[in-house]
């Protein structure tokens, strides 16, 4: 079964189904899969194009331009400004992420239950975690596939007595091509496009690509379908307004992600009686740590994100592997001109890791202008200090592993050449503007919970305000999960689908 490219529609059309899902990522795909297998007549629409394994170009710019929203240039405005790369393709961000699949730790569930009206615990999601892990073959990275940058960080961490472990990832027969973030060229990464979506299509799901939802139809206070337009051509940013696709459905599920689902609701003035749509944005910001060694280590070979150091997890600091091709690394180095050329000549001597902070900072999605959401986020002092600690520790780890210097994300302290210099960071006065950050895990903007005055979505996935309108994506989470969120988003999606399936039966 194939997807249908809506950009080839030549006239307006009406489609009928029982459930329409908007978005094919970690929230939309498992839900659509479960519903289709249970016999629902499901339509799933995706704005991006459908790239199969053989379509992935393995080239950074080509992949970024065609599969990332804004060519990777989605940015939160604030201090500091933080890029938040998002996928815009069949399979959503799962197609271009690192594949890490981790359950939210129990202490974080306890925190959510204590601080918010999110009622679910690890035990509630356990069967859904297990289902998602089995379908995607989640397994720890083997030593042979671990990228050298990860091995070196592990070695340094072990010398310092820091707890860590290989990361769990959704892979089958991984070859270590190191191109996870640009579309896995061997089909090993078991993202939505390799697992839930093909199975859903076989079960009768109708999947449309190149189709952008613009509004939900509400009749008598109930969601009855949605209106969409195809893009002018595959990959285009502009829609063809002369062709309208009306999809009649009994239920509408928004799964566009933590940035675009709230933006859609705000633009269309939907489901916001609580006033909470778009608020509570948590992005789990991250920063680079690059170890420069005296020998070639080919950091781009093997799995880039293979190891986790979670010694400081309950403080909100974790370290995970990361590495990128030259085109995506060069501008992140603290040099210009000939000095940068010299650094890039030593590209094969560079190892990469990242420090992530489970943020207490909260940002916001607004309706924005020019057809785009406005994302605002200003890093608070608490998280700034967490980064200070994380960078100091991470630098020490790579130095302990033998790095001659560590490139840090701190303005004015970009190059750390000794343990003393690394430790010195702990006492420096650090401002948010001094940090160069990036974030991959936006969540929280349509919170799920039992309080209709504080939450946007009920515990079963229905919006509080509009019967028949559901949300299934990262926006449901009450805050940073402190780990990569995709597995939890999938688990929530499967749970929501289970609830719908029970009603059908």
């Amino acid at each position: 079964m194939r997807t249908i490219d809506a950009t080839e529609f030549t006239s307006s059309t009406k489609l009928d189904c029982e459930i329409v899902v908007v978005g094919s990522g970690a929230g939309g795909a498992p839900l659509a899969w479960s519903l289709a297998k249970a016999g629902w007549d499901v339509i799933l629409i995706e704005e991006g194009s459908h790239f199969r394994t053989n379509d992935f170009s393995r080239r950074v710019w080509e992949s970024t331009r065609t599969m990332y929203r804004d060519a990777g240039g989605t940015v939160s405005l604030g201090v500091p400004a933080i890029p938040i790369p998002l996928g815009r393709t069949w399979g959503g961000t799962t197609t271009i992420n690192s594949g890490t699949c981790l359950r939210v730790p129990e202490f974080m569930f306890d925190k959510w239950n204590r601080d918010t009206s999110f009622q679910l615990g690890l035990q509630d999601l356990l069967p859904y975690y297990q289902m998602a892990e089995e379908i995607q073959n989640v397994e720890p990275v083997s030593d042979t596939l671990m990228g050298e940058g990860n091995r070196l960080f592990r070695a340094g961490a072990e010398k310092l007595g820091l707890r860590g472990k290989p990361l769990d990832r959704n892979t089958r027969d991984c070859k270590g091509s190191g191109l996870c973030a640009f579309g896995c060229p061997t089909g090993a990464k078991q993202a939505m496009g390799q697992t839930f979506l093909p199975q859903a299509l076989e079960a009768g799901l109708r999947g449309y690509t190149g189709l952008r939802a613009v509004d939900v139809q509400v009749r008598g206070g109930r969601a009855t379908g949605l209106v969409a337009h195809p893009l002018r051509q595959a990959g285009d940013l502009r829609i063809n307004r002369s062709i309208k696709v009306k999809i009649q459905a009994k239920k509408v599920v928004l799964a566009m992600g933590s940035i675009y689902t709230p933006w859609f609701l705000l633009r269309n003035q939907l489901a916001n009686a609580s006033g909470e749509v778009g608020r509570n944005l948590s992005i789990h910001p991250a920063a680079k740590l690059l170890g420069v060694f005296n020998h070639d280590l080919f950091g781009w070979q093997g799995v880039p994100q293979a190891y986790l150091v979670d010694e400081f997890h309950e403080e909100g600091i974790v370290f995970e592997g990361a590495f990128i091709p030259p085109a995506a690394l060069a501008f992140a180095l603290p040099a210009l001109g000939q000095e940068l050329k010299s650094m890039m000549q030593d590209y094969n001597k560079i190892a990469g890791f990242g420090v992530m902070v489970s943020d207490s900072t909260r940002g916001k999605i607004s309706a924005g202008f020019g057809g785009r959401p406005m994302i605002t986020y200003n890093l608070n002092k608490e998280d700034t200090l967490r980064f200070r600690k994380g960078v100091a520790i991470g630098a020490q780890v790579y130095l302990e592993a033998g790095a001659r210097e560590v490139i840090s994300p701190i303005f004015g302290r970009e190059r750390i050449r000794s343990t003393d210099e690394a430790k010195d960071i702990l006492s420096m006065k650090l401002r948010p503007a001094d940090l160069e950050l990036i974030a991959f895990h936006p969540v929280g903007t349509c919170r799920m919970g039992s309080d209709r005055y504080r939450d946007v979505v009920r515990p079963d996935g229905r919006t509080w305000d509009i019967p028949g309108l559901y949300i299934s994506d990262g926006s449901l989470l009450p805050g940073s999960p402190s780990v990569n969120p995709q597995l939890t988003i999938m688990a929530l999606a499967l749970r929501i689908a289970d609830g719908l399936n029970a009603k059908r039966n």
Binding site: S49, K175, S177, S342
Partner: protein, 152 residues
């Protein structure tokens, strides 16, 4: 090369971009290629087609570099693109090390475009020892990128 919307990155903007790129990726040194060895115009054309915010950001950054930075950072009135290379280098280094966050950010945006254009060229990435065809990994080589899906 045209963008999807038919707009080519050219004119004054390209002159400023090229003048900036000449400093960011100069001739000689550790890598025997420089900014004149790549299709900067083609890359910038594709970049501005990725969204109005990317287009606005790049054009705004180049405007600031061209008209404001020489006077502000090097006390030299005049257009950046018409200044000698050593003065241009002084201006960009001052932006790079500026305590003013916005100035660093504007240069970072231009530098991102330039460096991505440069190291996307396989001659250059292979020169520094990178291959997107990982040795030992059997990847089917495709001559082109995205394909459109057939209708059923």
């Amino acid at each position: 090369m045209t963008s999807d919307s038919g707009t080519i990155f050219g004119g004054r903007k390209l002159v400023v971009l090229a003048a900036t790129a000449e400093i960011l990726i100069p001739e000689g040194g550790a890598i025997p290629y420089d900014s004149t060895d790549i299709d900067l115009q083609g890359f910038a054309t594709q970049f501005i087609a990725t969204g109005w915010q990317n287009r606005f950001g790049l054009v705004a950054a180049l405007f600031v570099i061209e008209w404001l930075m020489p006077l502000l950072l090097a006390r030299r009135p005049g257009r950046f693109s018409r200044l000698p290379a050593d003065i241009r280098r002084e201006v960009l280094q001052a932006m790079h090390h500026s305590k003013v966050y916005l100035l660093r950010g504007l240069l970072l945006l231009v530098n991102t475009v330039v460096q991505m254009a440069f190291y996307s060229d396989t001659r250059i990435s292979e020169y520094i020892g990178y291959s997107n065809h990982n040795p030992g990994v059997n990847i089917v080589d495709q001559p082109q990128g995205a394909t459109r899906v057939e209708q059923p």
